[in-house]
């Protein structure tokens, strides 16, 4: 007969106020299957754990049930305490009488009776618990980072500088991301290029970073510690090994298409590098727009290239990389201007978005840092900035706050004043949110010293009248509607997840939330990990954030990866699916329901088996198995039936 001890926690008054703990202990002592029952005010405290350990030894217990808070809080605590006293940790179970009893009830009498039932049902389960050993899985100490913006760059450098190899995969021809487009950064007004490009160069030259630009993840298989990733290396149509990056080809190219990097404010050729500081600084041919690919004639770039690096017949390549951990740093896009028709987005030429204004301010931008409006190149004297263009609008656009706009708009207005001294910036806002170091002071500086006009209220419509762009909004602090005949309007469009993130998330089997951003394992306590083991998150792919937060998170994700790599092998929870080989008929229903690809068909044995390293113990296959061949370890059908019987009061 198994000797089971039950330890009932008062949790101060959290449990004891609603549940009569002494009576619970009395009831438990009457149960012949319970060897020992006892209560204590704080079971998780040192003396509480000491009590559990001593009783295990003195009473020669085979298993322990701790009736306390949710197992997500202290299951590990008590399993460790039990192990220290010589028990197999999986012989320790938690009966949750706080979240599932005392906190949700008021009637002391009935709550006490319910607590007894909860404990007895866990005792019934524990009776049938087996002693388990954690599953050990080897780790491939090599990381992949998806996305080469500042988040991916920082994560790659941190992991590589800790001594591990990194494969950095970037979809665009260059790393750098949106940060490379920025002029200066709030609140210090550091030049974005000046702080970013040295890091880009470091990535490009790092002996432990394998840089794969113009590449996309096609397929991921495997599990934490042992992933295999297929990557499509898109054909740049240029042999990068021999190309010197001289740029002659780009000058000769007769094609003109709007430059993505400069937000359409100027043009690039069909053969191009996105910007002069690109890493790698090698061109690609945009086949959709290239004259040769469209008509079969031209090849001007080929005849210009002195080293003969143009490769019109180059094909995409699929390569495979083996890695142990993957950092997902896919970044953001902004809501397209065209989506916001009432603000003239896409219709009125002098209505642009924040990233376009960054390019106008940038010394390396299409106007060499002079603020000139797109319609006629005039220097605008009245500039209106509209915040929350598509953010905080659950009815029509995005419900959330895009978080970076308050500060970048303030920066825009300030930098505009620095360029155009007699110009006047106006900012329409709902709230000015300045939660960051030095941010409030930056906002005050804009208002107080730079004379930026802040108008609290939304803009109703923006339209063109002659060469002016008329803004109709409201100033709720004055209680008046406002009209400004502007020369240029800048919309702080909502930050949205990068294009293709949904598809990528499906390939990686990681989760996204309702707004399409990647989901973390726990919003407070595990913010840089995905719920799927082995995947880590960094940057705006998870939710909108500024550069300091992105860099901090990227370093956090990198340190999680290096912590994983600090061990030779990993321990995984053994409470996963197990198959009774004699019962399994090989119907494969389990394979179809498994969200983790952990169920496989063994052709030889003609049964479905479990890949222990992949199984997360969700129980989907256990529920689906028509013949009961698949059972969850320590949560078998028999255990569940016993628990139900106990819950019903043994009737």
């Amino acid at each position: 007969m198994k000797r089971i001890g039950v330890f009932v926690c008062h949790c101060g008054i959290n449990i004891a106020n609603t549940v009569d703990v002494d009576r619970v202990v009395e009831e438990l002592r009457k149960d012949p299957r319970i060897t020992h029952a006892q209560s204590y005010i704080y079971m998780c405290s040192d003396p509480g754990q000491e009590l559990v350990r001593d009783t295990i030894k003195n009473e020669k217990l085979d298993a322990v049930v701790v009736a306390a808070c949710s197992p997500s809080l202290h299951e590990l605590t008590f399993r460790q305490a039990s192990a220290e006293a010589g028990l197999n940790p999986y012989q320790c179970e938690i009966a949750n009488i706080r979240e599932q009893c005392s906190w949700v009830h008021e009637d002391r009498e009935r709550a006490t009776a319910k607590a007894v039932k909860i404990i007895k049902s866990i005792v019934a389960k524990t009776y049938l618990n087996e002693s388990l050993e954690p599953i050990r899985v080897p780790i491939n100490r090599r990381a992949m980072v998806i996305g080469g913006g500042i988040a991916g760059i920082q994560a790659s450098l941190d992991i590589a500088n800790s001594g591990y190899e990194v494969v950095l995969v970037e979809r665009e021809p260059s790393i750098g991301g949106h940060m490379a487009q920025l002029s200066e950064t709030f609140p210090t007004l550091d030049c974005s290029q000046c702080i970013l490009t040295p890091k880009m160069v470091e990535v490009g030259k790092h002996p432990r970073i394998k840089l794969m630009t113009y590449s996309e993840v096609e397929e991921v298989s495997g599990y934490v510690g042992n992933f295999t990733v297929k990557i499509r290396r898109k054909a740049p149509s240029v042999d990068w090994a021999t190309c010197t990056g001289c740029g002659e080809c780009m000058e000769k190219c007769p094609v003109k298409v709007p430059s993505e990097f400069n937000r359409g404010l100027d043009d690039r050729g069909a053969i191009y590098v996105p910007f002069p500081q690109a890493v790698p600084n090698k061109p690609v041919i945009d086949r959709d727009n290239c004259v040769y690919y469209r008509t079969g004639k031209c090849k001007l770039c080929e005849s210009t290239c002195e080293v003969g690096s143009i490769r019109f017949d180059q094909e995409d390549e699929i390569v495979e990389e083996e890695v142990g951990a993957i950092v997902v740093a896919t970044g953001y896009e902004t809501l397209p201007l065209q989506r916001i028709a009432e603000y003239g987005g896409g219709e009125v030429p002098d209505v642009i978005d924040g990233l376009a204004f960054e390019r106008l301010l940038s010394a390396s931008g299409p106007t060499v840092g002079e603020v000139r409006r797109p319609s006629d190149g005039k220097v605008p004297k009245e500039v209106v900035f509209v915040q929350c263009a598509g953010s905080r609008d659950p009815e029509r656009y995005q419900p959330y706050c895009s978080r970076i706009c308050c500060m970048y708009t303030t920066k825009h207005a300030m930098l505009y004043k620095h360029r155009v001294h007699d110009g006047q910036p106006y900012i329409f806002y709902i709230d000015v949110r300045t939660g960051g170091k030095g941010y409030e002071e930056f906002y005050h500086r804009a208002e107080e010293e730079e004379g930026v006009v802040y108008l609290k209220g939304k803009v109703a419509s923006i339209f063109r009248d002659g060469d002016q762009t008329v803004v109709w909004g409201t100033d709720s602090l004055a209680g008046r509607n406002v009209e400004i005949r502007a020369d240029l309007v800048v919309l702080a469009t909502a930050v949205v997840p990068g294009t293709g993130v949904q598809d990528l998330a499906k390939k990686l089997k990681i989760q996204t939330g309702e707004n399409g951003f990647l989901n973390e394992a726990h919003p407070k306590l595990r913010p840089v990990e995905s719920i799927t083991a082995g995947f880590y998150l960094a940057g705006c792919g998870q939710s909108p954030r500024d550069i300091p937060d992105t860099v901090a998170q990227a370093s956090g994700a990198a340190s999680k990866v290096t912590a994983l790599f600090s061990k030779d092998e990993m321990e995984q929870d053994p409470m996963i699916a197990a198959v009774d080989e004699d019962v399994c008929g090989g119907c494969r229903v389990c394979i179809s329901v498994c969200p983790y690809d952990a169920r496989e068909y063994d052709e030889e044995e003609e049964i479905a088996v479990v890949n222990e390293a992949l199984c997360e113990g969700c129980g989907a296959c256990v529920a689906a198995c028509p013949c009961g061949a698949t059972q969850q370890s320590n949560l078998t059908d028999r255990q569940i039936l016993e628990m139900i019987t106990a819950s019903l009061g043994e009737e």
Partner: protein, 145 residues
Amino acid sequence: MAEGADNETTPRLRLDREKVRGEFGKRLDSLSEQHILACYQCGNCSSGCPLAEEMDLLPSTVMHLVQLGQSEAVLNSRSIWVCASCLQCTVRCPKGIDIQKVMDVLRQMALAEGIDHFGPDQVDPRNAAEVPQPGLVSAYRKLST
């Protein structure tokens, strides 16, 4: 009392750089020795003002309108005359703006512009004791200028 001017209805404010950063704000700054743009509209002056209930514009609204160069709305308001110069706003302001002094200058500006605000003959002698001092004094000043 002064005519409420525009304060009865809410016509659209037309803002441009001449208006919002024009002479009015500069003069106000220089006469009051305050920096109007330092106000970030927290509303602490209004919430502590003992006479706010009698005003057509809250003190913080007065500050906001002067930031936008809206001289007419402010100089024609009752608020600048209802103000009792009790200094509550001044001691409460987190940015250290002497708001009472701003109010004082606004009254002087209104007088200088000859805005018909209040005459001593309008005061019922029985209530004279209850009229705020600055109002009463300025009424006589107007006669003397």
